[in-house]
């Protein structure tokens, strides 16, 4: 959104005008709101360094004097939780890669090639956009189950990819449409094949679209809960959110809030890091619907 920002001179002008009571009011309100939005997240990070038994006791200032890495050590020595973190990583990275590849091909095909049925293909993708996965959860379960793709990370990646595709195809199709036709034609004249053109000639131009598609797919898969809950069975296959649910619902006083809080922080960190690093592409993706067109 910084692209849409006001031009520099006007910004400087406003900057001067802003040094007023109005500006300080803005600052105070914003900082208060920032605390409201961020403090719960920061608190959880701090809590994950508390000894596990304190997490179930009344919070007091003194609780934060004994920081320990114990929870994290326990999480990473507990074979299972580590497995679950890795599962989540495999699924999120796998989905991001597959979505990006498939969406790029389709976006390219829809934007730059003319063929019979392209309208129908586009309509099908459009239709998929309007069907929430929750609505086809049961038939999808039967289908995956019959295909031996339940309790399988591959199955989960295929499904996550599919539900990320409509958005990805739109983004990539727009990206390709913005590339001047001449570029394709000159590549063609040089004798470059379809894939060569894509990989060598256009790569720098489509990177923003790729980044947008990839970050959305990654965050979706990293956080997804209901499908993972439905399609996965055994402990060793669970993704992190479902594993956290297991920890949270275990019986007979067995909940270890230390594990849970450090697991929560492990679930948070990639989202925040990825968002901060690729914020521009994320916001662009978000805006592609809202401002363009």
């Amino acid at each position: 959104m910084s692209d849409v920002a006001l031009e520099p001179t006007r910004r400087a002008q406003r900057g001067r005008r802003d040094r007023s009571a109005n500006f300080y009011a803005y600052l105070v309100v914003s900082i208060t709101l920032a605390l409201f939005f961020v403090l719960p997240l920061v608190w959880e990070a701090a809590r994950s360094f508390q000894p596990a038994n304190l997490a179930a006791a009344t919070p007091r200032g003194a609780d934060f004097t004994h920081f320990t890495l114990g929870n994290y050590r326990a999480v990473f020595s507990q074979e299972h939780i580590l497995t679950n973190v890795l599962n989540s990583l495999v699924v999120a990275v796998g989905t991001a890669l597959l979505t990006t590849i498939v969406a790029t091909l389709a976006g390219y095909g829809l934007a730059k090639f003319r063929f019979r049925g392209s309208g129908l293909a586009f309509a099908a993708i459009l239709l998929a956009l309007m069907i929430p996965f929750q609505a086809v959860l049961t038939p999808l379960f039967i289908e995956l189950n019959d295909m031996h793709l339940t309790n399988s990370l591959v199955g989960l990646i295929l499904v996550y990819t599919t539900f990320n595709l409509p958005f990805g195809v739109f983004v990539m199709r727009n990206t390709f449409q913005q590339i001047p036709q001449e570029l394709f034609e000159s590549a063609e004249v040089d004798g470059a094949g379809v894939m060569t053109t894509l990989v060598r000639v256009l790569r720098p131009l489509i990177v923003p679209g790729l980044a947008t598609t990839a970050i959305f797919a990654f965050l979706y898969s990293w956080n997804e809960f209901l499908q993972a809950l439905t399609f996965l069975e055994t402990d060793s296959k669970l993704t992190l959110p479902v594993k956290l649910f297991d920890i949270d619902t275990s019986t007979y006083g067995a909940i270890n809030y230390g594990y849970l809080s450090s697991g929560i922080v492990i679930a948070m960190v990639p989202c925040i890091v990825l968002y901060l690093a690729l914020q521009r592409y994320y916001v662009q993706g978000l805006m592609s619907g809202a401002v363009k067109g």
Binding site: V154, G193, L229, T251, Y252
Partner: protein
């Protein structure tokens, strides 16, 4: 060039197509019973063993020991998510990719035996020399149409815990645990009167399954069941059920007279019993499984154990816990049975109590056992009087969030409408029964 381009696309398309195509090839040959002599002896390979999270402690501890002593056979343990275990097993059965052995909550066995989803192990069970000593409640749940589809695995029994030192302080006899409903109410009142943050009674008041587990034995004690008759011809007995009405009245009184510990109303299970373990509660109907936690908390010396009483006497327990079942189509049933036989040996059964479980062979209850496990001996003794409803609707009727059992309990106890609650319960149970087609 163009050709090469297409070839690259094919490289991407083909793997996806292959995955999809491959997945459609169904597998799942049914295992046929083998000769009893070879079955379960010197098996090789691996055994995929699923255990539910609530009772995984025993499997985790003993599988390690089995693998250490059996180099030719490896048991691979997987935990299924809490509250998801039957769904996950059903999923695996649907996909014909079942584990070799499952520690299935015993009350869930009938719904799977009825669907022919489990291996018939009747000849192997009948061949066991100690068959007559197996927990009767567990075994009854494993039996369907005269055949055995499972064998007892572990006992997770409900008992009455009480705090002897608080009993003494309140002027009660620490060696006389409550034996009737009236005792429970009277004792809880005296202990509550101690003040100082001490409560008379504790329960998991927002945990459907927990409440069923500790309250039903109060009815079993007088041979009362809410669901009666053989599967396929069952009826509901709630309206007009005197002991049930008394039981709801007891809990209603405990609630309305403020005799419950502060966390009782809102407890959903995860921290059930913690307040009792810390010595702040007089009476707790709970699981024998709390035992290791009390040992850990260091309060066990103050704690007494008793069986759960009936309205005016008698006692019982919920034959909770798991049956071993071998799903139909398991790849290594012989290996699974070899592990089962090992678990059934006295040496292994004797390891159960310290881990919070009760053995499933009543013949291990010797004087030596009693001396070594005084707390578990009480539970094991109650096992002979134990019961569990044999029905395919247990989960739907009792354990689920919107179960008619919990609706009835809430209406009676928290809304003080026992007559209305009984009607709600009767209608709700009947609806579940109709839906299940029984």
């Amino acid at each position: 060039m163009r050709r090469r381009g297409n070839a690259r696309i094919a490289l991407i398309v083909l793997p996806i197509a292959a995955v999809v195509a491959l997945s459609f090839t169904a597998t799942g040959a049914l295992s046929k019973p083998t000769a009893t002599s070879a079955f379960g002896v010197n098996a090789t390979g691996t055994v995929q063993f699923w255990t539910r999270a609530a009772t995984s402690g025993l499997g985790v501890a003993l599988v390690k020991q089995f693998n250490a002593t059996h180099p030719h056979l490896k048991v691979v343990l997987s935990e299924t998510s809490p509250n998801q275990d039957t769904t996950k097993l059903a999923t695996a059965i649907r996909a014909h990719s079942v584990p070799d052995l499952v520690g299935l909550n015993d009350i869930d066995v009938p719904q799977f035996s009825r669907l022919n989803a489990l291996m018939d192990i009747t000849p192997y069970v009948n061949a066991l020399p100690y068959k007559k000593y197996l927990s009767p409640g567990h075994l009854a749940l494993a039996q369907y149409n005269g055949k055995y589809y499972g064998i007892p695995y572990l006992g997770d029994l409900s008992v009455l815990w009480y705090n002897k030192s608080l009993f003494t302080k309140a002027g009660l006899d620490p060696n006389k645990p409550p034996a009737t409903f009236a005792d429970i109410l009277a004792d809880a009142k005296k202990i509550q009167a101690l003040g100082n943050g001490i409560s008379g009674f504790a329960m998991a008041g927002d945990c459907q399954g927990c409440l069923g587990f500790v309250m039903e034995p109060d009815l079993f004690a007088v041979n009362d069941q809410l669901i009666r008759g053989p599967i396929g011809h069952q009826t509901i007995h709630i309206v007009g059920n005197q002991p049930l009405e008394q039981l709801l009245q007891l809990y209603q009184s405990l609630y309305s007279q403020n005799l419950l510990s502060p966390g009782s109303r809102t407890e959903t299970g995860p921290t059930w019993g913690n307040d009792f373990e810390q010595g702040k509660v007089g009476i707790l109907p709970g699981a024998y499984g709390f035992y290791p936690l009390m040992v850990k908390a260091g309060t066990i010396k103050d704690i007494g154990i008793a069986p759960l009483p009936g309205p005016t006497g008698g006692y019982s327990t919920f034959d909770g816990g798991d049956d071993f079942v071998i799903p139909a189509g398991a790849k290594n049933p012989s290996g699974a049975w070899e592990f089962v036989l090992w678990m059934m040996q006295t040496a292994q059964q004797n390891k159960y109590p310290a881990l919070g479980y009760t053995p499933v062979r009543t013949d291990v209850l010797t004087p030596a056992y009693k001396a070594k496990n005084p707390y578990n001996a009480v539970a094991l003794k109650a096992l002979a009087h134990g019961s569990a409803p044999v029905t395919t609707i247990y989960d739907a009727a009792f354990n689920e969030p919107n179960s008619p059992w919990f609706q009835m309990f809430s209406q009676a106890v928290y809304n003080n409408d026992i007559a209305g609650a009984l009607k709600t319960g009767q209608a709700g149970f009947e609806k579940v029964l109709t839906q299940a087609g029984d």
